[in-house]
């Protein structure tokens, strides 16, 4: 097969992968929120469903590299293109680029879909916590914290009885599910930039972006992520430095 025919087939294959990928995620974007509402904001089912879809989308992405290794590389060589030549590298990098772009898109989709679900959950919980809660002894109204999602003692100011407030499963899921999703959404741009810099280094096979530049970008991602969490649960402020150190440990330790 001639070079141009091989190139056309390679381009066509890449286009099809992109289209199929887009299609899967568009359908997901429509279906997952419905599932979340139908299960009454049940976060485990939602996460399991996403895991299945993520796996399908990842398979599509990695098909690019697998197909290059199994068929396309050889086809270009048979078409007279030398291994390692500029033309050869250009075609190979085309695959790398699309693979990377789809990975970035998948990450963005994941963050967006989870953040949208998290916002719905937060709204639900705000509605629940804005209800009246009364002392179990004297029925006087007891104030409830709107930004604390664990159980806590609350003393009735009328009869001095200690009540235990249980915020409920949905509110507890703010801490287990929503704050991570909303933190990731706030910090997404820095995460994508960090990955972009890493990819450019990989593509050129040298450090065109120095480690300090990469680390700074990652640091911004972590800081924005943690600050968003504090915005939702102010108590996290006390452990900010500890969290920051833990989440950036691999930058300094390795």
């Amino acid at each position: 097969m001639s070079f141009s025919k091989t190139q056309n087939r390679w381009d066509g294959f890449l286009k099809k992968i992109e289209e199929r990928f887009q299609e899967v995620l568009e359908k997901t974007e429509a279906a997952l929120p419905l599932l979340f509402e139908a299960t009454d904001f049940e976060t485990t089912t939602f996460s399991n469903a996403w895991q299945g879809i993520y796996s399908q989308a990842s398979d599509l992405i990695y098909k690019i590299n697998d197909t290059w290794d199994e068929k396309v590389e050889e086809a270009f060589e048979n078409a007279g293109i030398d291994f390692g030549s500029d033309q050869f590298n250009q075609e190979r990098d085309k695959g790398y680029r699309i693979q990377f772009e789809l990975e970035q898109k998948l990450k963005s989709y994941e963050v967006k879909i989870f953040a949208n679900a998290a916002k719905k959950l937060v709204q639900q919980v705000q509605d629940i916590l804005s209800n009246d809660f009364c002392c179990s002894q004297c029925q006087a109204k007891l104030p409830v914290k709107s930004n604390f999602f664990r159980s806590y003692y609350s003393t009735c100011e009328y009869c001095q009885t200690v009540n235990t407030f249980e915020p409920g499963t949905k509110a507890r899921n703010i801490e287990h599910f929503a704050i991570h999703a909303l933190g990731e959404e706030a910090a997404l741009q820095y995460y994508l930039s960090y990955e972009e810099l890493k990819f450019q280094n990989y593509l050129k096979d040298k450090d065109i972006h120095k480690k300090e530049e990469l680390d700074a970008q990652y640091q911004k991602y972590v800081e924005t992520y943690l600050k968003k969490r504090i915005e939702i649960i102010p108590d996290y402020k006390d452990r900010y430095e500890k969290d920051l150190k833990a989440k950036t440990a691999f930058l300094t330790n390795y």
């Binding site: 009454d40 469903a49 299945g52 809660f133 002392c135 009885t161 200690v162 249980e166």
Partner: protein, 66 residues
């Protein structure tokens, strides 16, 4: 050709449906707790725990709370 496309679309739809159905059927369901207030009461005299007391002894009858 059109038939093939139709078959393929049907299969693709089924994959997504299967993933969602599988997630719904295979996820272990836990009982959901509602938001609310409760008070620990002494098993002996039924008194509730007043402020500034601990959970070891009842402030009214002196019995152990637990």
């Amino acid at each position: 050709m059109e038939d093939n496309n139709h078959q393929k679309k049907k299969k693709e739809k089924n994959i997504l449906d299967d993933i969602l159905a599988n997630a719904v059927s295979s996820t272990k369901k836990h009982e959901e707790t509602s938001a609310g207030l409760e008070t620990k009461k002494c098993k002996s005299c039924g008194a509730a725990r007043p402020d500034d007391t601990d959970l070891r002894y009842c402030d009214f009858c002196g019995d152990q709370f637990y």
